[in-house]
């Protein structure tokens, strides 16, 4: 069957909009409805944001490491943001806020699950494309417009929003609270609203495609763990992002229509007492963290799924405890909705209610520990291949353990009241959510790059990238635990005026230096990535990693529709590695007569 015919077959149920098969440049690369191209669009936009967000962290680390030094070249780049070669406090807060917003939402949500849910779901469940390729395209373009608006907020005269990525009122609700609360905040809200629409459109598609478009024989318990993780991610997003949206709508009303949802008769310096009555800033925190905590798992679960898959393939062993992995994903997804107030222990939360949230938070340790145990037992006595993807997957587990343990500290209200808003928190969430998920993303890129572009990434550069980033991640964030325990608060512009924090001046300089080295190493990865798209070693075999999953049964460079002929039928789960004397048995291989224990 020709490719065209296959396309017709695959889109049998939506017969409008697919008559045109001669792709122009515009329909192939720009307004593409091919899930693989949309995935690449998400990936590359995410990478642009990662560079910008990373660069912002380098800039504010420069301030923290060298609070007294002057860098004239900074003024020539940043202008009034770095008067006299020193980053201004306003610019510092703007950088910290934008760094957080961009990394959490634009890189680790859109860049991570946008990329891999789009790329892997149809390929691994055996579908020609998403349930609605058109909505899928819209999902990317909403993200793109959100990106442009967020980017433009960096260039308005009063600067981007600078009240922290959580956008708590009153800083976010009052135009006069800070320079960034003016136009910067308006643009922030618009960009985030469009971003929410983007992730909802994406999530609807991911869920429907997984439930509805699986190929013959692909029962839910034969799905690779990547797909399960992306499924729970999408469910979390679809259920929690609307709540953030509702919170932001109330915020818009407070900002622009004089309502009192979050504002009360507080006194603002230079403005006087507000005329608002009875508003509660805590209300916003509830609405924000009802998304905010699931968001942590929206970021983490895709990484967990990919790590499970990559570990199994590169250990040449079945994933240990598939059903336990599934159950723990499910448990994490449920608990994600029941722990949001652990971000609010210092808001005067009722202590009894607080202890309920402590208990539920600590319960997350159980499914997390199951996952770690299963990853380690998958490695145990495996025939391990240390590809760059595998190294990043192992690195993920290391970071997840280190960051997860400090989560048990912070989940305790009694400890959190001391550690809240300190560098301990910064260290915790950067390790367990930020860097760990970034490692999952790197693992995914190294592993699936051959499927995306038909070429390999350079391995040597990959190893250098991994080791420097791995060591760097710990060198940057490990010392921050000590700073936090010593009481050093996060978000401060300059610590040099406090006697008690002066002792950390050298440590801050050390952290900043490592941060710059790690950032430079990521440039190495970017060079590897873009060079390899065009000049990398060509993939010559269908299944370079000798993997069982369906994406490797497509041609080396699959067209729109994925399989030129019929979609293959599935006969087994994806983890038959090292079974009955076979190194691997793809999902498409029928079950042999004398085969032992089949899924």
């Amino acid at each position: 069957m020709s490719h065209e015919a296959a396309l017709h077959e695959g889109h049998g149920h939506d017969d409008h909009g697919h008559h045109e098969h001669h792709d122009t440049f515009l329909t192939k690369y720009v307004f593409s409805q091919d899930h693989k191209m949309i995935a690449k669009q998400f990936l590359i936009t995410g990478m642009v944001w990662a560079v910008l967000g990373g660069l912002m962290s380098v800039l504010f680390r420069l301030q923290l490491g060298y609070p007294d030094a002057s860098f004239p070249w900074l003024e020539s780049i940043l202008g009034k943001w770095a008067k006299g070669g020193q980053i201004t406090p306003e610019a510092y807060y703007a950088l910290v806020t934008t760094h957080g917003t961009v990394l959490v939402f634009f890189v680790l949500t859109a860049g991570l699950s946008g990329t891999f849910a789009n790329f892997l779901i149809p390929l691994q469940v055996g579908a020609r494309d998403m349930a609605s390729p058109f909505l899928n395209m819209l999902s990317y373009w909403f993200f793109f417009i959100a990106s442009i608006i967020m980017l433009s907020s960096l260039f308005v005269e009063t600067g981007p929003f600078s009240g922290g990525w959580t956008a708590y009122p009153p800083l976010s609700a009052l135009h006069d609270a800070s320079p960034g609360s003016k136009t910067g905040m308006d643009l922030w809200i618009i960009a985030m609203a469009l971003f929410v629409v983007s992730s909802l459109l994406g999530g609807l598609n991911y869920i429907t495609t997984i439930l509805n478009m699986r190929t013959k024989g692909m029962s839910m318990t034969r799905l690779p763990l990547t797909i399960w993780a992306l499924f729970f991610t999408a469910v979390l997003g679809v259920l929690s992002f609307p709540v953030l949206l509702s919170g932001m709508i109330l915020l818009i009303f407070d900002r622009n229509f004089g309502t009192s949802f979050y504002l009360s008769d507080i006194y603002v310096n230079g403005v006087g007492a507000l005329s608002n009555e009875g508003g509660s800033a805590i209300l916003f925190q509830h609405l924000f963290w009802f998304l905010g905590h699931p968001e942590v798992y929206i970021i983490l679960l895709p990484a967990m799924g990919m790590v499970s898959e990559i570990m199994s393939v590169n250990s040449r062993k079945p994933i240990f405890g598939y059903m336990a992995m599934l159950g723990s994903l499910f448990a994490i997804a449920i608990l994600a909705f029941l722990v949001w107030a652990h971000h609010m222990f210092v808001t005067g939360l009722n202590p009894l209610l607080g202890s309920v949230f402590v208990l539920l938070t600590l319960l997350i340790a159980v499914p997390s520990a199951i996952k770690v145990f299963n990853w380690l037992t998958t490695l145990w006595r495996g025939n391990i291949r240390f590809t760059p993807a595998m190294l990043f997957a192992i690195g993920f587990v290391s970071l997840f353990i280190s960051g997860g343990l400090t989560g048990i500290w912070l989940g305790n209200a009694a400890l959190d009241i001391y550690l809240h808003d300190s560098y301990f928190v910064v260290a915790h969430f950067h390790i367990v959510m930020g860097v760990a998920s970034m490692f999952g993303m790197f693992a995914g890129v190294y592993h699936w790059f051959p499927k995306m572009y038909g070429r390999y990434l350079n391995n040597s550069l990959g190893y250098i990238h991994f080791w420097i980033t791995m060591a760097g991640a710990y060198l940057i964030f490990w010392p921050m635990h000590y700073q936090g325990l010593a009481g050093m608060p996060r978000r401060y512009f300059d610590f040099s005026i406090w006697e008690s924090f002066k002792q950390f001046a050298e440590l801050n300089r050390f952290i900043s230096t490592i941060a710059m080295i790690v950032f430079a190493t990521q440039i190495l990865f970017l060079i590897n990535f873009f060079y390899s798209i065009f000049k990398g070693r060509k993939v010559t075999v269908l299944n370079p990693w000798e993997s069982n999953t369906l994406e490797w049964t497509t041609p080396i460079r699959p067209g729109h529709g994925n399989w030129p002929g019929e979609i293959p039928e599935v006969h087994r789960w994806p983890y038959d590695y090292g079974k009955d004397g076979h190194d691997f048995i793809p999902q498409t291989t029928p079950v042999g007569e004398d085969e032992t224990g089949t899924h």
């Binding site: 679809v238 005329s275 009555e277 509660s280």
Partner: protein, 191 residues
């Protein structure tokens, strides 16, 4: 082409499932808002007032419109296209009537000194505006969908492929209807 293989053993059309998942997400948005309403109500500075009488009429209107859109689905399935378009139009008109009644309701509240926005506003009124206003926007989206479907149906040459769009629209319309009933009961008696 429409009859060729749908690759999996579909029990439900993918678009219908997309819609259902989307409705779940809308539910969460209103769950968030009505929860916030309950929290806020228990705090100081809460103004008690009665819902405008017009809201009772609009409730009746939207209930009737659910019936007319169901008739449209029935006629589309039976292939009686003229009647099908008739019921679609009636539903869209009822939808517009609902919009007008709601806006008049807001105006009646403002006239009786319940400020919904601005410096004199109270969260009770503002919440009512935001919650019912967002519901209204969802309903307007439904009206737009009905208009688009009507125009497409008028332009279509054959009677095939006309059932799915109206089925999707009807599901959404019933949902917006149910959502209003929930909000009406909630704002009147629960909240």
């Amino acid at each position: 082409m429409a009859t060729t293989i749908i690759e999996s053993k579909n029990k439900i059309h993918p678009y219908k499932m997309l819609l259902w998942v989307g409705l779940g997400s809308i539910v969460m948005m209103f769950a968030g808002l009505t929860s916030a309403y309950i929290v806020k109500k228990s705090q100081a500075n809460w103004l008690e007032f009665e819902l405008p009488k017009l809201f009772y009429i609009s409730t009746l209107v939207i209930l009737i419109s659910s019936f007319t859109i169901q008739m449209a689905v029935k006629k589309a399935k039976a292939g009686e296209l003229a009647q099908y378009r008739g019921f679609l139009s009636v539903t869209a008109i009822l939808g517009l009537a609902f919009v007008i009644l709601q806006v008049r309701g807001f105006q009646a509240l403002e006239a009786s000194n319940v400020a919904l926005t601005g410096a004199r506003s109270n969260s009770a009124g503002s919440f009512l505006l935001v919650i019912t206003g967002l519901h209204l926007l969802h309903l307007v989206g439904g009206v737009i969908a009905l208009v688009v479907i009507s125009l497409r149906s008028a332009a279509a040459k054959s009677s095939s492929n006309q059932v799915l769009p109206v089925e999707l629209a009807a599901t959404y319309w019933h949902f917006v209807d149910l959502l209003w009933i929930y909000l009406f009961v909630f704002l009147n008696w629960v909240g």
